[in-house]
Symmetry: none
Subunit: 300 residues, 2 copies
DNA sequence: GTTCATGCATAAGTCCTCCTTATGCATCCT
DNA sequence: AGGATGCATAAGGAGGACTTATGCATGAAC
C-alpha cells in the first residue's frame, strides 16, 4: 500500500474544500506557508499540479479534483471511525475519591457534570487508600496531599484542606453562645483525638492540651462522619470549610471563629499524565476546575 | 473534523491486519518499538485499549476492531486515489540526451525499461545543447560534464567519457594489422581534429602532432557519427568504449590497444532535485542505474 | 523446573519532517 | 499609483516520529 504523506493530505483536503490555502490554514490552525509547503510536497509526489493558482484563490486541476474526492472520503471515514472509537470508549468515567469528598462535595455537584456530559457515565469508587490509577483502571482520583506530586500523574489542586471548628447552632446555644475559643472547651468535641484540634488551639493561643487529653479519644479520620455528628449536635467538629459550604449556608453548622489552620495539605485531582488527552478525563477535569473556581473564587 | 494522529493510524492498521507489532514494523520498514509507541499514542487518544496483548501476538479489542475497519477502508481509498493521481500524471517521461547517448546506448536498452514500466511512455529529445529541465519541461537529462554539479539538479554518474582508438578489422587488415600505436598514423583518421587524438598519442608516447596537423581537419563533435564511420571502414575513430560495446562485442570494431585516455568528463543522469520523488523519474533512475551497473560492473 | 525464543513496553537519544517567520512577487481593486 | 490579498520560498526551530538498548512476560522445549 503506497500512501502519500498523510500530513499533506490533510492540508490538501482543506485547501480543496475551501479553494484557498489561507482559509485552509485558518481552519487547521496553521500558517498559509505551511499549507503551501504541504501542497507542494504532495504535488511533487503526485508528479503534477493539483491546483491552478489564481490571484485570489486556487482552483483544482482535474487530477486534483479526483484526488480531493478520494481524500475527502477517506478522511471522513477516518474521522467518523475515530469519533466512534473515542465516544464509544468514553462510556464510563471511573473516579476514585475519599469518602469525605464524595459525600460532601462531589455528591452535591456531580449532577451538573452529568447534565453537561450526558454521554459519560460515572462510576464512583470511594476508598481511604491511595489507589493506583493504572493498576486499578481508574480514570481520575481525588486525593489529599501536600505538594501534589505523584510519579506519572498530572495533578490539579482543588482547595486547601484547612480546618476550623464548626458546630450546630443548637449546641452553641447550650452554653449561651460561643464567644471566644476557650468556650469550645466547655462543649463536647466529636473527635478530640483529631490532631487538628491541638493545632487549632495553638493558633488560637489556648493551651488545651490537658483538656483534650482528658477527653475520650477516637480515630475517625473522616470529615464526613465528623461533619454529620457536628450537624446532629453531638459535638464540635474541626472541619474543612470547603466540604461544608452547604451546611454553613443553610445554618445547620456555624463557624464561630475566623481562625483557620492548615497543615499544608490540599485536595487534588489526579490522573495519568499519559492519559491527559483522553476526552472523558479532559471533560471531567475542565468541569471540575471550573466548578472549583466558581465555588471558591480561586483560580486553580 | 477531528482526526487521530495519521502516522499512528498507519501503524495501527498494519498491526491490526497482521495481529503483530513486529510484522507491522517489518512491513512499514520501521522498528517494533516505533509501532508500539504509535499504538500507545493512539490508545491514549481513543481512551481505551485497541489491542489485547498476548504472548506471541496481539488481538484487537471490540473498539480496536471497529476502528481498524474504518482505518483500513480510509487508507485503501486514499491509496487508490493517490495511485490514480500518480499514474495518471505519470503518462510520459521526457528524456533529453545528446545524440550519441541516444543512438549508441539508450536505443539498445530502452525497450527493457518500457517492458518493466508499461505505463510510462517515453519521449526522447536529442540535442547537443544543455537543456534547462524546468524551463523545457524535461523530466530527466543525460549530459556530459566533469563534476556533475548543476544547480538544483540531482545527478548520477553513469560512466566515464574515456577515449581510445577503434577501427574496423578490415581497415586494420589494409596494413597487415595494427601492432603498435604508430601504426595508426599509417591509416586514415575519421576526425583528426578531435582533441582526444593528440591526448591519446601523448599517452602512447608518440609525437603525432605534425602528422595530425597535416590531415584534413573537421569538427564532428559526435561520437555517434565517428563510430559509424569507423564501423564503415572510413577511418580510425577515437571513441568512448561504453558507447560501442555492441560493436566491440560483434567484432565490427576492434580496440587495438589498452591505452585509454580520459579528460575528466563523464556521462551523467540529471533531474530536478525537487522532483526526485516523482514516480516516473524514480522509476527511470532506478532502472538506468541498475542497467549501468550491469553493463559496466561499476557501482554508480 | 530451567532455559531459550518470541514479542511487546519503555527510556533515552537523534533527527528530519512539519511547521513558523519573514519576505517577495503577482494580481486585483480602488 | 497605492494598497490589499494571497501564494511561493528561504531560513530557522522544535517536537513528533522514529531508533537503539534493555527489560519483562509468556510459551515452548527439554
Amino acid at each position: 500500500m503506497n500512501l502519500p504523506p498523510l500530513a499533506a493530505i490533510r492540508a490538501f483536503e482543506a485547501a480543496a474544500r475551501l479553494s484557498s490555502f489561507t482559509r485552509a490554514a485558518e481552519e487547521l490552525a496553521m500558517t498559509q506557508a505551511a499549507v503551501s509547503y504541504q501542497i507542494k510536497v504532495l504535488e511533487d509526489r503526485v508528479g503534477q499540479p493539483l491546483f491552478t493558482r489564481k490571484a485570489r484563490q486556487v482552483e483544482l486541476t482535474e487530477t486534483g479534483r479526483a484526488l480531493a474526492a478520494g481524500a475527502s472520503e477517506a478522511l471522513r471515514i477516518l474521522a467518523e471511525s475515530y469519533e466512534q472509537a473515542r465516544t464509544g470508549g468514553q462510556g464510563t468515567l471511573s473516579i476514585s475519591t475519599i469518602p469525605t469528598f464524595a459525600a460532601n462535595w462531589l455528591a452535591l455537584r456531580l449532577g451538573s457534570f452529568q447534565i453537561a456530559h450526558p454521554a459519560i457515565a460515572v462510576r464512583l469508587e470511594t476508598s481511604d487508600r491511595v489507589v493506583d490509577l493504572a493498576q486499578d483502571n481508574i480514570d481520575v482520583g481525588i486525593r489529599t496531599g501536600g505538594k501534589g506530586e505523584w510519579p506519572g500523574l498530572a495533578s490539579h489542586r482543588l482547595f486547601m484542606a484547612d480546618f476550623t471548628p464548626m458546630l450546630s447552632p443548637s449546641l452553641a446555644a447550650t452554653i449561651g453562645g460561643v464567644r471566644e475559643p476557650a468556650d469550645l472547651l466547655r462543649l463536647p468535641i466529636v473527635d478530640a483525638g483529631d490532631p487538628w484540634w491541638a493545632m487549632w488551639f495553638d493558633l488560637a493561643g489556648i493551651d488545651a492540651r490537658e483538656n483534650l487529653a482528658a477527653r475520650t479519644r477516637s480515630q475517625l479520620n473522616s470529615q464526613a462522619f465528623e461533619g454529620r455528628a457536628a450537624v446532629a449536635g453531638v459535638g464540635v467538629g474541626i472541619l474543612t470549610r470547603e466540604l461544608f459550604t452547604a451546611e454553613l449556608d443553610n445554618g445547620s453548622l456555624i463557624q464561630p471563629f475566623d481562625i483557620v489552620g492548615n497543615d499544608g495539605h490540599a485536595y487534588w485531582l489526579v490522573y495519568q499524565q499519559a492519559r491527559r488527552n483522553v476526552p472523558k478525563i479532559r471533560a471531567f477535569r475542565d468541569w471540575l476546575l471550573k466548578e472549583i473556581g466558581a465555588s471558591t473564587g480561586m483560580v486553580a
